[in-house]
Amino acid sequence: MVDDRRLAELEAVARDMRYQMVRMMGADKPHHFGGSLSIVEMVTALYFYKMRYDPADPNWDGRDRFVMSKGHTVPAQYVALAKLGVLPMEALPTLKQLGSILQGHPNACMTPGLEACTGSLGQGLSFANGIALAARIRGLGIRVYCLLGDGELHEGQVWEAAMSSSTYKLDSLCALVDRNHLKSQGQVDEAKNLEPLAAKWQAFGWHTIGIDGHDLRQVCDALDEAETIKGKPSMILAQTVKGKGVPFMEGQFQFHNAPISQSQWAEAMQILAPEEVA
């Protein structure tokens, strides 16, 4: 359980995550602002609250694994890894530049701390299943986390993987869905209706937990609850707001992957700036 003091610390981390992320992305360059901002609390809770992880040894065999299946929102993971010291802070401004270790989508061969190559949506949950299966045979005793986008759930492979997770009773696996309701071109459910989403996952043999994905206490509690579930995988369905934290981006699919102007960037930086500086 997360206590009030810890919660306040985590909220400060999340706030700084958003600030560092938008600072890294900058103006006049297309970036996946919307979905990177909607997952900040979940990424914060995973790296700074829940996961068994040694930043000094990111390849430690006994670490919990986090697979970013919605690969386009890896900027949030880059910032978390930089804050932990797994990546140098100086690397952040090189995002997507020629020769950078920070690719537009995750490359586990190039970037310390990443577990998988993703970006073609729908593959991460299968990969996470593979980690959980291997870890069980090897007796590693680790937990495996996998973050998916709600638009990503349109990919059929997600549901192939969902069946495997429950068939193999992968209770070390906890998946999270960033349910921000927006994909690149508009409403997720207008293209393929996902609802009733919790019932779908339950029918596939999963334990489901519904939360407000921006309420850090709820995120932490959900991660704790998932760890107590035995015999089946857990799914945290997190209601979120695309672009969360930057008012002119919130709920706007147009900021899925787009540049922002210098003045928009300055406005965002002012809103997200640490309180003592603002």
């Binding site: 998988a116 190559c117 593959q123 299968s126 299966l133 291997a134």
Partner: protein, 322 residues
């Protein structure tokens, strides 16, 4: 190790099953996956011997490939198996990202490849898998000619640190290598010396190329035969060396003539000077159909008689031009 005698008719998929038992017994980090074809693909015996390391992933090839990649990232060497029609084809994007790009240690095994899949027809006859696999960086692509080579190729693949594609068949093809044969990734064994032309053959076509060379010899044409079990990395120097001084180069594959061995050899010959004309023998931009394997080889011109005739026609045309 199981041994076969030269001339025995053996399916390369049978050698796969035997080799898995061999390497699986010795190495606890070997895992095997299949997509509901384990009896056909010969992974069933491994599953019986090592149930904790065998996974029937159901009819879900894309999921299988990515799950295999996750296992590989966590310390296993995984053989992910299906029909060659479905891997690489159906799981191409997954193989591209999780294996080629991420270089995970997964061996993709495509079984029942080519026309000799037979009665199931065009939907199940992979004629594009070499082309798809050959495109991908970091992927090693192996097409064994017989059971002995297939057995050793599987063992060799297990030792390769990185992704491998192996194409296997269900056509009883004569064993051409003796048990003391040593398979090496990238090597291109000369099966027959010859001075007039060179045949590059891959997979089951190697044995048919030897039969073709015998027919050609009866017509006074001396053909060299090279077995090409490694399509990637392809040894360009060995290809060029074998073509030196020849009047004609011929490729033979149970695959579309675009994208596979024929294209690979064409690329090498075209980029170099003083190379011979090329005849690509394979399936010529059409789909297969349902029939027995033997009927299909006959119908699509892949029997030694047909191939010898095609070679003689091309050779005469080249000689008239000179």
């Amino acid at each position: 190790m199981l041994k076969w005698n030269v001339g025995d008719l053996v399916q390369t998929r049978d050698a796969y099953g035997e080799a898995l038992l061999d390497v699986g017994r010795r190495r606890k980090d070997i895992a095997v996956m299949d997509s509901d074809l384990q009896r056909s693909n010969k992974t069933y015996a491994f599953g019986q011997a090592h149930p904790e390391r065998f996974f029937d992933m159901g009819i879900a090839e894309a999921d299988m490939v990515c799950t295999a990649a996750g296992m590989a990232a966590t310390g296993f060497t995984v053989f992910a198996t299906s029909f060659a029609m479905f891997v690489p084809g159906r799981a191409y994007d997954q193989i591209r990202l999780q294996l080629s790009y991420a270089r995970e240690n997964v061996k993709i095994i495509g079984v029942s490849a080519g026309l000799t899949q037979g009665p199931d027809g065009a939907t199940h006859q992979a004629l594009d898998d070499i082309a798809l696999a050959r495109l991908l960086p970091n992927l090693t692509v192996l097409v064994p000619a017989d059971a002995t080579e297939a057995y050793q190729a599987v063992l060799a693949a297990a030792e390769v640190e990185g992704p491998v594609y192996i194409r296997l068949g269900r056509y009883p093809t004569p064993v051409i290598f003796r048990e003391d044969y040593v398979f090496e990734v990238g090597a291109m064994p000369v099966l027959r010396q010859g001075s007039d032309l060179v045949i590059y053959a891959t997979g089951i076509m190697a044995a048919l190329a030897l039969d073709t060379a015998v027919i050609l010899a009866g017509r006074g044409v001396d053909a060299a035969v090279l077995n090409v079990p490694t399509l990637k990395p392809l040894d360009a120097r060995a290809i060029l060396h074998a073509a030196e001084g020849k009047q004609l180069a011929v490729t033979m594959e149970e695959h579309w003539i675009s994208g596979g061995l024929g294209s690979a050899v064409a690329e090498i010959l075209a980029e170099n000077r003083d190379t011979p004309a090329l005849l690509r023998i394979g399936v010529n931009d059409v789909f297969g159909q349902s029939a027995t394997a033997a009927e299909l080889l006959e119908h699509y011109g892949l029997t030694p008689d047909h191939m010898a005739a095609a070679i003689l026609t091309k050779l005469e045309a080249e000689q008239r031009r000179q």
